[in-house]
């Protein structure tokens, strides 16, 4: 008996160990299989059609070199598993490309040939805590064209397919399309200027991303002509552009060039000296294209920004109705770009109110909710309760970004504007010597249908609104926090003809807003606002009543309250206390509802699966036991 028990014990112990090994090995083997069911919204983890489209256009093999330091103990486990997912994704590329993509993997050990190759490809190793150099980067090469992702990070994982496909598209193209950028802001970055006491700044992330795909050329804000090579012109914050420059943009559109203009009644990131303030100070800059908008029938109120209670950011004292967090419901679902952007963060933007010129049609790309209204600039940055005082929604969805399509007429029917008359004291000889070059023919109308995109905000393109800069092993990595960059880049790509990349960019690492909670909060806000208004009205009425009482008695300056005044005052106090109590109750109820929702969501997410497994285990045990008893009963 003793021996049998010992045997059973040994077999059981060994069996458990073997079972653990089987589980681990099985788990590992299943993990290597490239099978997955992508249940995410938008199939985030499946190679997209855009990627397949780019791969199908390749004329010769593109080489992807993955540099990954293996065996480094100082690297977090999360990063190692991420590296595995990168390898999986590259295998999918190889499979989808049918020989047009060649994958090479290198382990850049210190002073090795692989490390030399990494450095040649622009992949720099990052120093870990132990002083080792760790490499996890990808180079994409086609002959002498190279693109590199020097650091692959989990934070940017959802954009990984976009980064790789963009790199492949970039190296596969012989010549990059040309995009012009005109801006009163230092979007292209600026060098050190000791005279103006300007520190050097980097180009905006938007421009850095653009440069990876396009040949980006800066266009001066006083340009007299837009170069013919430029196919897409991005005008960001055209503050004080002269008429001649507006004319140049006008003729650019007439020639068929694609314009994307970002104007703003309140450019928060462009602080200008406040000339009307006797004490100095700054104010937010403004920009518009006055002549062009007038000709197209576009109107934007430069004295107002949009406040929206449904898409407001923050809550409680940090509620900021003029900082709009737009979700897909605010975006045009039928537009190829906005349908895939996800969310937009619009800080202190304006809205369009158009009476379009003949021949033009408008497509709204982004709009407010009906719970919105234009508010004065002076309260643009107010938050909390003061920002909601006197709020009266218009009941209409106001356009924030629009596309105009049709045959455009020139905003300058008389031709190029000549603001300055020739000097009277000009010598006769000068006319002959400095004869003007033959003037370009003036285009009165665009020959074919054209499209122009207008956006009533500039701030949403800035790094502060669009991205989060993270330090990863000493490298600065820009992670999109919303769909702002995707919107701008998508528009340009769409206009430049490359729509394959548009869909890829929507897989950004921004947070998906909890729409149910938002709606609950919006409903409560509505009630809250109503109560505030009631309270204010009540206060006003009581104060009016007090004044009347004092007038009737004749003692306006009397400091002694009459019995009536005292009663009125007591009533007012009671009303105020009661209203405050009701408000507190309302806020508490709102929190209770959201807290309850959060609690049950957590319970389901954390506990449901283990609970189901436990129930299944128990059920199995019961069934087996019943069978055993039946068998025993049959045997006996």
């Amino acid at each position: 008996m003793h021996r049998k028990q010992l045997e059973t014990l040994l077999y059981s112990t060994g069996g458990i160990i073997a079972l653990i090994v089987v589980l681990i090995a099985g788990n590992f083997l299943v993990g290597t299989l490239n099978l997955r069911a992508d249940l995410t919204e938008g199939n985030v983890y499946t190679l997209s059609e855009g990627t397949r489209s780019v791969l199908s256009k390749l004329e010769a093999p593109v080489k992807l070199r993955l540099y990954y330091s293996q065996g480094s103990e100082a690297v977090p486990v999360g990063l190692k598993t991420f590296a595995k997912r990168v390898e999986d994704l590259l295998r999918e590329y190889e499979s989808a490309a049918r020989g047009k993509v060649v994958i090479e993997k290198f382990n850049p050990e210190p002073d090795s040939d692989a490390e030399e190759s990494a450095q040649l490809d622009g992949i720099e190793g990052q120093l870990t805590n132990t002083g080792e150099r760790f490499y996890l980067g990808l180079s994409i090469a086609f002959l002498d064209q190279k693109a590199a992702i020097p650091v692959l990070t989990p934070d940017r994982e959802r954009l990984l397919e976009y980064d790789i496909t963009r790199g492949i598209a970039q190296v596969g193209e012989a010549k990059k399309p040309v995009v012009g950028v005109m801006s009163a802001l230092p979007v292209m970055g600026r060098s050190l200027d000791p005279v103006k006491k300007q520190q050097p700044t980097e180009a905006w992330v938007l421009i850095q991303e653009l440069k990876k795909i396009f040949d980006v050329r800066e266009v001066r804000t006083d340009a007299q002509r837009i170069d013919d090579e430029i196919k897409v012109l991005m005008v960001i914050h055209p503050r004080n552009v002269p008429e001649e420059t507006e004319y140049a943009i006008d003729q650019f559109v007439m020639r068929g060039g694609k314009l994307i203009a970002f104007v703003d009644p309140y450019a928060y990131f462009d602080q200008q000296p406040d000339l009307q303030n006797p004490f100095g100070g700054n104010q937010a800059g403004q920009s518009t294209l006055y002549n062009l908008f007038k000709a197209w029938g576009v109107d934007i109120d430069m004295g107002k920004v949009v406040a929206d209670m449904t898409y407001a950011s923050g809550e409680g004292p940090r509620l900021l109705p003029t900082l709009l967090s737009l979700n897909p419901q605010a975006l045009n679902p039928d537009d190829v770009v906005t349908s895939q952007v996800g969310t937009l963060l619009i800080p202190f933007g304006g809205s369009f109110k158009n009476k379009l010129a003949e021949g033009l049609t408008q497509t709204v790309l982004a709009h407010t909710s009906k719970n919105a209204q234009p508010v004065d600039l002076i309260i643009a940055t107010l938050s909390g309760e003061p920002s909601t005082r006197g709020f009266q929604p218009t009941g209409e969805e106001m356009p924030l970004a629009i596309r105009l399509t049709g045959k455009f007429y020139s905003a300058f029917p008389e031709g190029k504007p000549r603001p300055f008359a020739p000097r009277a004291d000009k010598k006769k000889g000068d006319d002959g010597k400095k004869a003007e070059a033959k003037p370009e023919p003036h285009l009165k109308q665009s020959a074919q249908e054209n499209s122009v995109v207008l956006v009533a905000d500039v701030d949403f393109l800035s790094d502060g609104a669009a991205v989060e800069i993270q330090e990863v092993f000493g490298q600065r990595v820009a992670v999109p926090r919303n769909g702002n960059l995707a919107f701008a880049l998508g528009m340009i790509e769409h206009f430049s003809g490359d729509s394959a990349l548009i869909g890829l960019r929507s897989r950004a690492a921004f947070t998906k807003p909890l729409t149910v909670i938002r709606e609950m909060e919006a409903r409560a806000q509505q009630q809250y606002l109503g109560k505030i208004k009631e309270l204010e009205d009540s206060l006003n009425q009581t104060q009016e009543k007090l004044k009347e009482i004092q007038k009737a008695k004749g003692g306006v300056t009397s400091s002694i309250l009459t019995a009536e005044q005292q009663t009125e005052l007591d009533n007012f106090r009671k009303t105020a206390v009661e209203t405050r109590r009701v408000l507190k109750e309302l806020r508490k109820n709102l929190r209770v509802e959201t807290d309850r929702l959060e609690f049950w969501t957590k319970v389901i997410n954390i506990g449901l699966v283990p609970l189901l497994v436990a129930i299944a285990g128990l059920a199995l045990a019961l069934v087996k036991r019943r069978r055993l008893r039946k068998a025993q009963a049959a045997a006996s």
Binding site: V21, A25, A60, K63, E87, D113, A114, S117, Q119
Partner: protein, 385 residues
């Protein structure tokens, strides 16, 4: 658990564990395979000792470096001595160079990487051929485009697109395989002047220097009595600009040439200028400088005459024990001088090509050699003709 169940589990461990190990091995093999393609020597079979001729050709220029009995010479320069150091550096570098990256590139795409054969028009690279003493080809390779690496810390405008960090190379006989090496091989030029031995004459210890048009009186002549004495105009006539004098004299001791002229003498732009320098060693250097028409360079011919003194003049108050030492030093110095002068005399058969800027101090007119008066705008001592 009974024995049967345990054995089943054990078999499962062996099967799954083995499969797992196989997968891990395969993953590691991917990294090993990629690593094996790189790190190999670029020219594994080439032995430096076998190389007797190196030819570089880029479609515009060609240079053939030939190893003769005692030295290497440049064939395109009528056998002018080549720089052994430059050839040695190139050969050692090429033999030691390893492949950093490898690509499969068809012949139709070679011009894209500047790897087409020289003479093929656009996209041609620099061909380097190695031959042995019998003239048999050893190997050849074509150097193509340089690989640029971004250097954000480099403020130079030229570094905007990156700095050269490597080069595409196509080794002869490798079919469609193109490699990248981690050295831009900047020195591998096909310009013959690049490979010449740049040893040149050095006129030192100059006592007098006269510069003027050929066949006429010198424009100016300066002299000094002692080796470390003050310079003055030989025939009087104004104060000498000491800085201009020293610069002109020093230039004769440090001239560098760019190339050697071969073939018929090209047309001269003007009459030649001649600089005659007499030294304290009784040597006379006659440097004839002829400006080349339509070019910013001069054709220079150097003739060295005279013989160094055979005996040393004892110094005042010299002690007997110092005499022997100084005599010995003098004898050694004379020996070195004789060897140098012999080499410089041999240079007399060559015509050198020197940039005008390099000759600048010797091209000064008399006005530039005169010390400027107070208040006068200072003229550059390096006046140009």
């Amino acid at each position: 658990m009974n024995r049967k169940q345990f054995l089943i589990l054990l078999i499962a461990v062996v099967v799954l564990g083995g499969a797992g190990l196989a997968v891990v091995w395969r993953d590691l093999a991917d990294y090993r395979a990629s690593g094996a393609k790189i790190g190999a020597k670029l020219l594994p079979k080439l032995r430096i000792a076998d190389v007797a001729e190196v030819r570089l050709h880029d479609g515009k220029d060609q240079v053939t470096l030939v190893r003769q009995e005692k030295a290497w010479v440049v064939k395109e320069r009528n056998g002018y001595p080549a720089s052994f150091q430059a050839i040695s550096d190139l050969l050692i570098k090429l033999v030691e160079l390893k492949v950093t990256q490898s690509e499969q590139v068809g012949e139709s795409l070679w011009p894209r990487l500047d790897l087409a054969e020289p003479g093929a028009g656009k996209g041609a690279g620099t061909l380097i051929e190695f031959k042995d003493a019998a003239g048999k080809p050893l190997t050849q390779l074509v150097l193509g485009k340089k690989v640029l690496k971004k250097d954000p810390l480099n403020p130079l405008p030229a570094a905007k697109d990156g700095v050269p960090a490597g080069r595409y190379v196509r080794v002869g006989g490798s079919k469609d395989t193109v490699v990248v090496v981690s050295d831009p091989l900047n020195a591998a030029e096909a310009r013959p002047g690049r490979w010449l031995d740049k040893t040149f004459f050095k006129a030192d210890r100059i006592r007098t220097l006269a510069v003027g048009p050929e066949g006429a009186a010198p424009a100016w002549k300066i002299t000094r009595n002692e080796e470390w004495g003050q310079w003055r105009f030989a025939a009087g006539g104004g104060d000498l600009n000491p800085s201009a004098a020293v610069t002109a004299v020093n230039k004769l001791g440090s001239l560098e040439f760019d190339d050697v002229a071969v073939g018929p003498a090209p047309e001269a732009a003007e009459k030649p200028l001649v600089a005659v320098a007499e030294t304290f060693d009784n040597l006379v250097y006659t440097v004839r400088m002829t400006p080349r028409k339509g070019a910013k360079e001069y054709l220079v011919h150097v003739a060295v005459t005279g013989e160094a003194p055979k005996q040393r003049a004892p110094e005042k108050g010299e002690k007997p024990e110092e005499t022997a030492r100084r005599d010995k030093e003098f004898a050694e110095a004379r020996k070195r001088l004789e060897a140098r002068v012999a080499a410089e005399k041999a240079m007399g058969k060559w015509t050198y090509v020197i940039e005008r800027d390099e000759l600048g101090p010797l091209l000064s007119g008399r006005g530039e050699m005169v010390a400027p008066k107070r208040g006068d705008p200072r003229q550059s001592p390096f006046g140009r003709r």
